[in-house]
C-alpha cells in the first residue's frame, strides 16, 4: 500500500464486490455459544438455493450488542456502510431478528421474496439501540472482522494515513488532547497527557501497549471490540506509535479470549500484507509492528506495571510507581499503555477531529463509554452511550429494568467499584460523578441487582474475587483481603458484633490506603460502598455481645 489512492482503490473494489443487501449474523463468543455458526451456514445455503446470490450476501460479523437475545441476525443495505452515504435510512429496510435458531434461518432469506419469517423479529428502534451513540462500536456487528477489505471499505486506515501524511506527531497528540479523551480502562487518566509524556521522553526505543486483560466479573466490552473490529484497535495503536515515536506495539490479551486472539492474529497478518503495519507504512519512514502477548488469566496483570512484567516474561507483580511506564516501562523504555476501548476511539478522533469528540459528553468526561449491562435486567448486552447519560436512563429505559420486583442497586467498576443504591440512579455517568458517590467508572461492567439481593453477600463475592486475585506481594492486600473476607463470612453467619463492624471498616481503610497497587487500593470499595448505602443490612446481621468489655 504505497499511497492514499491505493487505499481508496481497495475500498472501491470491495464496495463494488458487495451485494445490495447484507445479512449480518453475529459470530462472536456469546452468539457462537448459541449456535450462530449453524445459523450463518443456513443463511448462506438458503441464499444459494433461492438464487439470491447476486442480490444478497450473508456475512459473519462481530457483536451487535443485544447479547441476551442472541443469536442476532440483521439485514442492512450495503449502501448504508459507504462512508459517503447520505440520505434516509428507511426503517423497513432494516430488519432485526432475535434468538434465531438454525432451523429458522432459512425463513429469514425466503421472507426477502415475500411472506414472513418464523424467527422472532426484534425492534431496531428499541431504546436499547436507539439511545446508543456508537463511535468505537460503529462498525461492530456490521462488518466481517476477518476481512480487512471490509474495514477499509468503511473508511478504515484513513485516519492512520491522515496522521502519517498530513499531521506531525505533535499535532496528533494535540488532537487527542483536544478531544478530552480519558483512559477507558477505569482510572480515567487524560489520554492526551499520557501520550504527550511518552512523546517527550528521549530514547531510541519506545513501546505502545494495548491492555486487553479485561478481567472484571461480568465485563466483556474489550473482548467484543477485539472480536468485532480488530483493525480499529490496530489502527489506533499505529497512530499512537506515530504520535509518541514508538515502532513496536504489544497487545496483551488474556488466554480466555481465544476468538479475540485468533481474529487479532488474522488482522495483523492482513494489515502487514497491505503494508499497513510493519516497515515503511504507506511508503513513509514510519515503521510499526504489533505482537500479541497472551496472558495466563491473572486479574492483577491488568494493572499496567504487572502487565509489563508479564510481557517481559516475569511474574506479574505490580511495581511501585513512580517511575510510571511513560518514563520507564517495558524493558525500562518509555511505554505508552492504553486500554482496548481507548485505542478504539483514536481513529474516529483523528478522522473527525478532537473538537467533534469534545462536543460529546460532559464537561470533564468526553465521548462515549461502552458498558456491559448484566445482572438482574431485562435487556442485557453491550451498549455504547454518551457520557453524562443517567444510570436511570441506562438501567430503566435501555435495560428495561429488572424482570421481577424492584431495582435495588447498580454495581459499576467491578471488584474495584462500588454499589450505587436506587436512590442515586439519577447520577450522570461520568468519571467524577461516579467517584463522588463511592464507586467508579471502571472498565465498564454494570451489574444490576434487584431487591432480593443481599448486599453483604455481594460485598463478600467481590472480596473473595480480590483475595483470590491478589498477587501476594504486599501485605495489606495479601493478608488484609483474607481477613476482610473472613470478617464478612463471620458477619453473614450472624456471629459478629458492633465492634467487629468497626474493625471491618478500619481494615478496609487500611487496605485501601496502604496497598501497593490498584487491586489492593480498590479491593475494599465494594465493602465501603455497601457499608455507606446499605448499613442497615450489616446492622441486621449483628448480635449483641455476650460480655460487654469493661
Amino acid at each position: 500500500m504505497d499511497d492514499l489512492a491505493n487505499l481508496i482503490d481497495v475500498a472501491k473494489t470491495e464496495r463494488s464486490r458487495q451485494k445490495r443487501l447484507r445479512v449480518h449474523c453475529c459470530t462472536s463468543t456469546g452468539c457462537r455459544a448459541a449456535s450462530s455458526e449453524a445459523v450463518l451456514t443456513s443463511l448462506q445455503d438458503t441464499i444459494k438455493t433461492e438464487g439470491l446470490e447476486d442480490e444478497v450476501e450473508a456475512i459473519g460479523v462481530g457483536c451487535m450488542g443485544f447479547c441476551g437475545r442472541g443469536p442476532l441476525v440483521e439485514i442492512e443495505p450495503s449502501a448504508w456502510l459507504d462512508p459517503a452515504f447520505q440520505g434516509d435510512k428507511p426503517l423497513e429496510n432494516e430488519q432485526l431478528y432475535e434468538e434465531v435458531k438454525p432451523e429458522q434461518a432459512a425463513s429469514i432469506i425466503t421472507a426477502l421474496k415475500g411472506g414472513t419469517a418464523t424467527a422472532v423479529k426484534g425492534n431496531p428502534q428499541h431504546p436499547f439501540f436507539a439511545r446508543q451513540m456508537k463511535i468505537v462500536r460503529e462498525f461492530s456487528g456490521r462488518i466481517d472482522p476477518e476481512r480487512i477489505e471490509e474495514y477499509i471499505a468503511v473508511g478504515g486506515y484513513r485516519s492512520l494515513y491522515k496522521a502519517v501524511y498530513e499531521m506531525t506527531p505533535a499535532e496528533v497528540v494535540d488532537e487527542i488532547t483536544r478531544s478530552g479523551l480519558r483512559g477507558r480502562g477505569g482510572g480515567g487518566y487524560p489520554t492526551g497527557l499520557k501520550w504527550a509524556t511518552v512523546a517527550k521522553m528521549t530514547g531510541d526505543q519506545k513501546y505502545v501497549i494495548c491492555n486487553g486483560d479485561e478481567g472484571d466479573p461480568g465485563a466483556f466490552m474489550d473482548r467484543s471490540v477485539l472480536e468485532s473490529d480488530p483493525h480499529l484497535v490496530l489502527e489506533g495503536m499505529a497512530i499512537a506509535g506515530y504520535a509518541v515515536g514508538a515502532n513496536h506495539g504489544f497487545i496483551y490479551v488474556r488466554a480466555e479470549y481465544p476468538l479475540a486472539i485468533q481474529r487479532l492474529q488474522k488482522a495483523i497478518q492482513q494489515a502487514k500484507k497491505y503494508g499497513l503495519l510493519g516497515s515503511q507504512i504507506f511508503d513513509s519512514m514510519f515503521d510499526f509492528k504489533v505482537d500479541i502477548r497472551i496472558g495466563a488469566g491473572a486479574f492483577v496483570c491488568g494493572e499496567e506495571t504487572a502487565l509489563i512484567q508479564s510481557i517481559e516474561g516475569g511474574r506479574g507483580n505490580p511495581q511501585p510507581r513512580p517511575p510510571y511506564p511513560a518514563q520507564s516501562g517495558l524493558w525500562d523504555c518509555p511505554t505508552l499503555i492504553n486500554n482496548v476501548e481507548t485505542f478504539g476511539n483514536i481513529a474516529p478522533i483523528i478522522h473527525r477531529g478532537g473538537d467533534w469528540y469534545a462536543g460529546i459528553g460532559t464537561e470533564k468526561s468526553k465521548g462515549t463509554k461502552i458498558f456491559a449491562l448484566t445482572g438482574k435486567i431485562r435487556n442485557n448486552g453491550l451498549i455504547e452511550v454518551p457520557m453524562g447519560i443517567t444510570l436511570r436512563d441506562i438501567v430503566e429505559d435501555m435495560g428495561g429494568g429488572v424482570p421481577e420486583g424492584d431495582i435495588k442497586a447498580v454495581q459499576t467498576g467491578g471488584p474495584s467499584g462500588g454499589c450505587i443504591p436506587v436512590s442515586l440512579l439519577d447520577t450522570p455517568v461520568d468519571y467524577d460523578s461516579l467517584v463522588a458517590i463511592g464507586s467508579m467508572m471502571g472498565s465498564g461492567g454494570m451489574v444490576v441487582m434487584d431487591d432480593t439481593t443481599n448486599m453483604v453477600e455481594v460485598a463478600k463475592f467481590y472480596m473473595e474475587f480480590c483475595k483470590e486475585e491478589s498477587c501476594g506481594k504486599c501485605i495489606p492486600c495479601r493478608a488484609g483481603t483474607v481477613q476482610l473476607y473472613d470478617m464478612l463470612t463471620h458477619l453473614l453467619s450472624q456471629q459478629a458484633t458492633e465492634d467487629d463492624l468497626i474493625k471491618l471498616e478500619e481494615l478496609c481503610r487500611m487496605v485501601k490506603e496502604t496497598s501497593l497497587c490498584g487491586l489492593g487500593m480498590s479491593a475494599p470499595n465494594p465493602v465501603l460502598s455497601t457499608l455507606r448505602y446499605f448499613h442497615d443490612e450489616y446492622e441486621a446481621l449483628l448480635k449483641t455481645p455476650a460480655f460487654s468489655s469493661s
Binding site: P545, A546, F547, S548, S549, S550
Partner: protein, 182 residues
C-alpha cells in the same frame, strides 16, 4: 478498704507462666499482703472459681471444653482479666495442632498413628474433657482487659503489670520489657 480479690487460672499452657509468677520470689509476700488470693493453681486450694474477683491472670489458650467453660465463668465473675503469656495471647505452642484438620485428626495422629503400642483413642466423657477443633487465644472467646505476652512473661514484667493495678492504675504495656513475644 477491702483487699483486692486476686485469682490466676491455668488453661491450655505448660504452666510456665505460673512458674514465672512464682519467680516473683519475695515480692509474692508483698503481693499477698495486698490481695486475697481467691483462686489459683499455685496459691489456693479452692476448686470452684468464686464470684466478684477483681483481677485474674489467665494462662493458656482455649483448647478444650473445660477451658472454655472455665474461661466464660472467669469473665462473668471477674472485673479485670489479664491475658497472661503467649498461649493466652496467641494460642502459641498448643495451637501448633491447629494445622491438622480438627480435634479428631489431632487425636488420631497422636493416639493412633504415633502410638508405640496399644493405640486407642481416649474417650471418657465427664472425666477427659473434649477437645475443641481449634485452639484459640483468650481474646477470641471473651473480652480481655490487659495483654501480657511472653513465653513465659518474665517475673519483672508480671510485677510491672501488677504493681500499678495495686495502686488502682492501669499499667502501660509498651516497650521490649513489657510486650516482647517469646
Amino acid at each position: 478498704m477491702d483487699k483486692i480479690r486476686f485469682a490466676t487460672v491455668w488453661l491450655a499452657g505448660c504452666s510456665g507462666c505460673h512458674m514465672s509468677f512464682l519467680d516473683l520470689d519475695e515480692w509474692l509476700i508483698e503481693l499477698a499482703q495486698q490481695v486475697d488470693v481467691v483462686f489459683s493453681p499455685v496459691g489456693s486450694d479452692i476448686k470452684v472459681y468464686p464470684e466478684h474477683v477483681d483481677v485474674c491472670l489467665v494462662e493458656g489458650g482455649v483448647a478444650n471444653q473445660d477451658n472454655l467453660e472455665l474461661l466464660l465463668q472467669v469473665r462473668r465473675q471477674t472485673k479485670l482479666l489479664i491475658s497472661f503469656g503467649d498461649c493466652a495471647v496467641t494460642a502459641n505452642v498448643p495451637a501448633m495442632r491447629n494445622m491438622l484438620d480438627g480435634a479428631e485428626a489431632v487425636l488420631k495422629r497422636t493416639y493412633l498413628e504415633l502410638a508405640d503400642y496399644t493405640p486407642q483413642l481416649p474417650h471418657e466423657p465427664g472425666i477427659v474433657p473434649e477437645l475443641l477443633d481449634q485452639v484459640v487465644p483468650v481474646h477470641q472467646v471473651v473480652p480481655v482487659d490487659i495483654y501480657m505476652p511472653g513465653c513465659p512473661p518474665p517475673a519483672d514484667r508480671i510485677r510491672a503489670t501488677l504493681e500499678p493495678l495495686l495502686r488502682g492504675e492501669m499499667p502501660v504495656m509498651e516497650g521490649r520489657d513489657m510486650i516482647k513475644f517469646g
